[in-house]
Amino acid sequence: MQMLGAVKDSLVGSLINLTGPGKYVHWGFIQISVANLVVIGLMVIVFFAAILIPFRRHGGRGR
């Protein structure tokens, strides 16, 4: 169990280092954490993907 924990810690730790204060973007009076900015960016990407990627339609009448 301990081994597993150590492996997990090093795996996740190597992806994103969460030790230390959070990172923020300052832009005039706007201040936002990088984490929140990333989520907003992903939402924009998913929004456009949802509009642009064709929706496969299966069988049935009609087109």
């Binding site: 992903l42 929706f55 339609r57 087109r63």
Partner: protein, 245 residues
């Protein structure tokens, strides 16, 4: 049970002599507004074949996972979800499904915003969506306050000044753990589920909003919004529909 007059009863119409009863009137109104094939249709208009229409159902599914994992947390209690690996896992499922819920909800509402999906007597659908969003933020907030860690202490002490400045602090005390937990696990989930229920029923009641007419469509077709369930509006003829919309 055999009454000899099963047909009208079984078809939902009831017996003529019962028609004055409240049950018969309520059932009649409900069935007239949302007959089963409209409540759970097999087909949708052709324009619904786009990924953007998936995000309402995705939000709904995420909410389902939030509720089920929340119920599991309630069954086993705080020491389980803080200390056991399974408990921590279910706690994480609860938290991450909330992330998916809000993510999908925002993409959903952007989609509906750019479709102007409040057209054609669909105002209430939009409004119940807006209110669900606001109440969900409250549910997430009280969830953060229910974590019993330094994070929740920090959140509550930051929030108390804001809430006290509104005057609401006297009845809604964010540093009162018991009160916040009750709001999080009883009151706000009930409200969110009720609002979402109305929201989805309204979608079925009104049908999916037809797209805007293309810019080169004849003026008569392009103007006006659908004002009835029959979709008298842009593209009502131009777009082949499959089944009831």
């Amino acid at each position: 049970m055999t009454t000899g007059t099963e047909t009208p009863v079984e078809s939902g119409a009831g017996l003529p002599e019962d028609s004055h009863q409240l049950s018969a009137k309520l059932r009649g109104a409900a069935v007239a507004a949302l007959p089963p094939e409209r409540l759970m249709p097999d087909r949708q208009p052709a324009y619904v074949a786009s990924w953007i229409y998936v995000f309402g159902a995705l939000t709904l599914s995420a909410l389902g996972v939030v509720i089920v994992t929340g119920l599991v947390l309630a069954i086993f209690g705080p020491s389980w979800w803080h200390l056991s690996t399974t408990g921590l896992f279910v706690n994480s499922l609860h938290m991450w499904s909330v992330e998916v819920f809000f993510f999908a909800m925002v993409v959903h509402l952007w989609g509906k915003f750019f479709m102007a999906a409040w057209r054609g007597r669909r105002r209430a659908t939009w409004i119940t969506g807006v209110v669900s969003f606001v109440v969900s933020v409250g549910a997430a907030f009280t969830g953060y306050l229910s974590q019993q860690n330094f994070d929740s202490q920090w959140v509550s002490t930051q929030a108390k000044d804001g809430i006290n400045s509104t005057g609401a602090g006297a009845i809604f005390n964010v540093t009162n753990f018991g009160q916040m937990l009750m709001w999080h696990i009883v009151l706000l989930p009930l409200v969110v589920v009720a609002l979402v229920g109305v929201h989805v029923l309204l979608v079925r009641l009104r049908g999916v909003v037809p797209p805007f007419a293309p810019p080169d469509a004849p003026a008569t077709e392009a103007k006006g919004t659908p004002d009835s369930q029959g979709e008298v509006g842009p593209n009502s003829q131009a777009v082949p529909t499959e089944g009831r919309s």
